[in-house]
């Protein structure tokens, strides 16, 4: 590709360059900016016309000027070299090695923005992923090819939960081609170290590709990082037939970076200053999860985001929830009362659950147990707030059973150890055990034959 060099920078802002009189710049074309010092920074064309071309700089614009800074147009969109050598390596937000190793050289290069999967080419995700966590496996089942985010708040145990899922999901999948792609977006070095250590302990590190952009590093890289991570994942899944789990944390930092660029471009802001196209932009990432016809591999996404002031209606969790196939919500109240993982079962949801459960994949009674546990817990919680007003004595016998059930459900079913790996059978049996503290006649959501077969009520 011919590269053309320009020295016609007209304006520099903290994230954008305005270059004059560029001939034939391509939209989304990759550029390289060379400073007087010889330092090179990359960027991308955001908009172009005959007079001026706007470039988004991935990194800081510190040291750039209108006189000596050079801009080279690469003639192609941002492409990433891909090969199996990526596995076991750590890269930065632009795909450069940060583990001291050599860069990836490969003839095979993939566009980091990917292309939309033809909806007709998709295969319905239906393979159960056992995470060993009851509140997920039984109540919000994860399936291969799903995108299931963790909605958390600052200070909650989302990192621990994600690490536990990777560790335990890996075990059953070991015989198959299983890889982890981890994208740390604007996280602090302690969190980054936590994940790397955990992956090391569980042996997942040698089957993972890690991309890290730390809190102190350029925020513009955060917009690129998840695209690199997903490109690596797609390569492993669709070229190498692997089942890939992608963890992206923290998507809130991603959205912040998006807002920063939008503001710099003087765009009309949407809600809370986030750009109006944030839905489309996030969808461009999350929709890259899936399973397609004729290929064995799959891309499963577990993005993590921290909800600003625990507000689920904030634009970031709100838009994410509209795109993803459900969400696992962590609750501060549960966390405060010492319950790990503090999954708020009532607010959580897995939209693809039905396809992944039942006779042929988990157990025939799975749907019924899950529905009944859900209903009973919802009722118990409702009564809990009622007793705060009228006292427990005012409750009927049945209501007291529900109240007690809710307590047990939280401390025995939701709560489990960081190293506690429950099989789906254990989880479902535990569910039956807890349900049996409520009168059998209340089991409206379970088919009678399942009560016969699995119920744990004492015969009277």
């Amino acid at each position: 590709m011919e590269e053309i060099e320009y020295r016609t920078i007209e304006r520099v802002t903290n994230v954008l360059l305005f270059v004059k009189d560029v001939k034939n710049a391509g939209y989304n074309e990759q550029v390289e900016i060379e400073l007087e010092t010889g330092k090179k920074v990359s960027g991308q064309v955001l908009a172009t016309n005959e007079d001026v071309t706007i470039i988004q700089v991935f990194g800081e614009t510190t040291g750039m000027n209108t006189q000596t800074t050079k801009v080279r147009f690469k003639g192609t969109t941002f492409k990433m070299p891909v090969s199996m050598d990526m596995v076991g390596r750590v890269f930065d937000g632009l795909g450069r090695p940060r583990d001291g190793g050599i860069p990836i050289f490969s003839d095979e290069k993939m566009d980091i923005n990917g292309s939309p999967i033809n909806p007709y080419a998709r295969e319905e995700p239906s393979e159960f992923v056992q995470t060993g966590i009851s509140s997920i496996d039984c109540m919000n089942t994860l399936v291969r090819g799903q995108k299931l985010p963790i909605f958390s708040g600052s200070g909650l145990a989302h990192n621990k939960l994600a690490a536990q899922i990777v560790k335990q999901a890996k075990i059953l999948a070991e015989k198959q081609n299983f890889y982890v792609v981890f994208g740390g977006i604007g996280i602090n070095s302690e969190d980054a170290n936590f994940f790397v250590n955990e992956f090391q302990n569980s042996g997942a590190l040698e089957r993972s590709v890690i991309f890290l952009n730390l809190a102190a590093e350029p925020s513009m890289e955060r917009v690129i990082l998840p695209r690199l991570a997903l490109t690596a994942a797609e390569y492993l899944a669709y070229e190498k037939n692997a089942h890939v789990m992608v963890i992206l944390t923290d998507m809130t930092n991603y959205a912040e970076a998006l807002r920063e660029i939008s503001a710099a471009r003087d765009e009309v802001p949407g809600r809370r200053g986030y750009p109006g196209y944030m839905y489309t932009d996030l969808a461009g990432l999350f929709e890259r999860a899936g399973k397609v016809k004729g290929k064995e591999g799959s891309v499963t996404q577990l993005p993590i985001l921290t909800m600003p002031s625990d507000d689920i209606t904030h634009p970031i969790p709100d838009l994410t929830g509209y795109i993803t196939e459900g969400q696992v919500v962590l609750s501060r109240a549960l966390d405060k009362s010492g319950i790990y993982p503090g999954v708020d079962v009532l607010l959580s949801l897995s939209r693809l659950m039905n396809q992944g459960i039942g006779k042929d994949s988990t157990r025939e009674d799975h749907r019924s147990v899950s529905d009944q546990l859900y209903a009973a817990y919802a009722k118990g919680k409702e009564l809990r707030s009622l007793t705060e007003i009228v006292g427990e004595d005012a409750l009927s016998k049945i209501d007291k059973q529900y109240l007690h059930f809710a307590e047990e459900f939280e401390t025995r079913f939701i709560k489990q150890g960081f190293n506690e790996d429950r099989s789906i059978n254990e989880t479902l049996d535990l569910g039956w055990e807890l349900l049996s503290s409520i009168d059998k006649s209340e089991m409206k959501r379970i088919k009678p034959e399942f009560i016969e077969k699995y119920g744990k009520w004492k015969q009277i």
Binding site: Y279, E287, G290
Partner: protein
């Protein structure tokens, strides 16, 4: 004359040098010939919204005006297909291009090779008007495709093809009008942004039956009506849309997945061919057209997708069919509009949406309706639009503009969804402005007392809400017995009637007659218990008759067994009537 690209900003491209560019004409952009539409003209420059990914497009590349507005191809072969937002067939794209959709793909919407069996229905020498039926093609096991005279043509039939097999491009008739001859083919074209004409719009009198109790009983939508389904994420909008697409008694379903999840479209694609239409026993795919422009597909095509959908619907309406359009979600369409408006640097209205949002929403829903079509027959197009308000707060512009023009409002409620009460249609906030018009139909076709039963049940639910407020203050035990009874009955209505399990083989669909029987028996139990209470029988004693578990099972009872079960419950009601104070 060829134009030249002079500016690119996302999906908006500026072109100069086109000869006499016209608004809304299609322009092929760049070497790859991406499809775009002229949305603004400034002097000699045309601003074009491009329906495909513009990455890599360069200033200086060519642009060619097609001199035609954005149109869809109409003809046999639409049913059972899956298209993207600008009617490109996704199945053919897969076999041609592989898993991913790239830019610049050119594939005809309708198959040019396939032959259809045409039967003429008019004789040579007959004078025909636009919209008149001149032949028929069996398109699928469920749909007879009426071949109608295109809307801009009329005259005397000079020639009509004999019964036989023809492609969509073969001439099947020749008309002569004022010495001019016009060839008619199985395929025609129509610009998507223009509503197809009808003779007159009629008022809706027949319900679109959906098999969903909360809808058919409480908040029915009329055939040819409009309904809005707003709800936060996870409240079950898509499941409701899927349920209506599966079970509603329209002849043709057009399902528009507008900016939503890819896997949801896959779900339809995998389940519909296996599901059977309850009336005919034929596969549901044989009456369904899918339009999929998922959230990661180009945003401009998302904007076009709902127009493509409604145009296809109007086309089948013009054959005299009842068509239902599910648009999921119109919020994504509005957001596409906002994004494009932003790129055009238009002055924003509320929340960044363009000032013309309300007008566009109104225009779209106005294309619904029950109508006397050009041939004099009656056809209908119903629109059911999902709305995804940010944070579930319907005070935002898309919800508000939609509610202004739609006549049914199914308010999906996050707290009901969180309690797994599905469909999570809130019975206190929702409404249907068609109930009065449809009551007559229900009286005549189902039962004379249907409207009264509905109103009575609704009153019980209203009362429950009031009593619950008191319970919050004084506790359940302090309630008078009569109130306890109401709570009891309301619970039955909620759990055993309004709740409906879309994933249960039997519960997923309830015929209106099953609905009527269920509702009637619940109210009979209520009356009997109330009468007993008035005879001073203690509530514990009344409730010792185990009628509730039987009512709870009705949902899961097959249609043909429902009568037997109702008889059993009627016996229990007799028991309740016999209860007295003494023993």
């Amino acid at each position: 004359m060829e134009g030249k690209i002079i500016g690119i900003s996302g999906s908006v491209v500026t072109v100069s040098g086109l000869e006499d560019p016209m608004m809304n004409n299609i322009v092929f952009i760049g070497e790859k010939e991406l499809v775009g539409e002229i949305v603004k003209i400034e002097g000699r420059n045309a601003i074009i919204q491009v329906y495909e990914d513009t990455s890599g497009l360069k200033v200086g590349e060519k642009a060619v005006d097609s001199k035609e507005p954005l149109s869809v191809e109409l003809g046999p072969g639409l049913i059972g297909s899956i298209f993207d937002g600008i009617q490109r067939p996704l199945d053919k794209i897969l076999s041609k291009e592989g898993t991913f959709i790239s830019s610049g793909i050119k594939i005809n919407s309708l198959d040019r090779e396939k032959k259809w069996h045409f039967k003429p229905k008019a004789e040579e020498g007959k004078a025909v008007e636009p919209g008149e039926e001149i032949g028929e093609v069996k398109e699928t096991s469920l749909i007879k495709h009426k071949v109608i005279v295109p809307i801009n043509k009329k005259g005397i039939i000079k020639k009509i093809a004999e019964e036989g097999d023809y492609t969509v491009e073969d001439t099947i008739a020749v008309l002569e009008d004022d010495k001019k001859t016009e060839e008619i083919k199985l395929m025609t074209k129509w610009p998507v942004r223009t509503a197809r004409p009808v003779k007159e719009k009629l008022s809706p009198t027949v319900p679109l039956l959906t098999g969903q109790r909360a809808i058919d009983t409480m908040f029915p939508v009329a055939m040819g009506g409009t309904a809005a389904v707003p709800g936060p994420f996870g409240s079950g909008k898509t499941v409701i849309q899927h349920q209506l697409a599966k079970w509603s008694d329209a002849d043709v379903i057009v399902y528009v997945g507008c900016g939503e999840r890819g896997n949801e479209m896959t779900e339809i694609l995998t389940t519909f061919p296996e599901l059977k239409d309850p009336k005919s026993g034929k596969p549901l795919m044989d009456r369904t057209i899918l339009i999929a422009n998922t959230s990661n597909m180009p945003v401009a095509a998302r904007e076009a997708s709902i127009y493509t959908g409604i145009t296809l619907a109007e086309y089948y309406r013009d054959m005299g069919y009842s068509v239902a359009v599910m648009a999921d979600s119109t919020s994504r369409w509005a957001e596409a509009l906002r994004e494009l408006s932003g790129r055009l640097e238009e002055m924003p209205g509320e929340e960044g949406y363009p000032a013309y949002l309300g007008r566009r929403v109104g225009e779209f829903y106005e294309r619904a309706g029950r109508a006397r079509i050009l041939s004099g027959k009656i056809g209908a197009a119903t629109i059911i639009g999902a709305v995804s308000p940010p944070g579930g707060d319907i005070s935002e512009p898309v919800s508000q503009n939609t509610l202004r023009v739609t006549r049914v409002f199914w308010a999906l409620d996050a707290s009901l969804a969180n309690a797994r009460h599905f469909p999570s249609i809130n019975w206190l906030n929702s409404y249907s402005l068609y109930t009065d018009e449809l009551d007559q139909w229900y009286r005549k076709n189902i039962a004379e007392d249907w409207p009264e039963l509905r109103d009575k049940s609704m009153a019980t639910l209203q009362k429950e809400a009031e009593i619950n407020e008191i319970v919050q203050l004084v506790g359940y035990d302090a309630l008078p017995e009569s109130d306890k009874l109401i709570l009891d009955v309301a619970r039955m209505l909620r759990e055993d009637y309004l709740q409906q399990n879309a994933f249960d083989e039997i519960d997923t669909y309830a015929s209106v007659s099953k609905q009527y029987r269920m509702l009637k028996i619940i109210n009979q139990v209520f009356d009997a218990e109330k009468a007993a209470l008035e005879r001073n029988v203690p509530i514990e004693k009344i409730q010792s008759v185990q009628v509730k578990p039987k009512i709870a099972r009705l949902r899961y009872t097959k249609e043909e067994e429902i009568d037997a079960k109702i008889k059993e419950i009627e016996k229990d009601i007799e028991e309740i009537k016999k209860t007295n104070v003494e023993k």
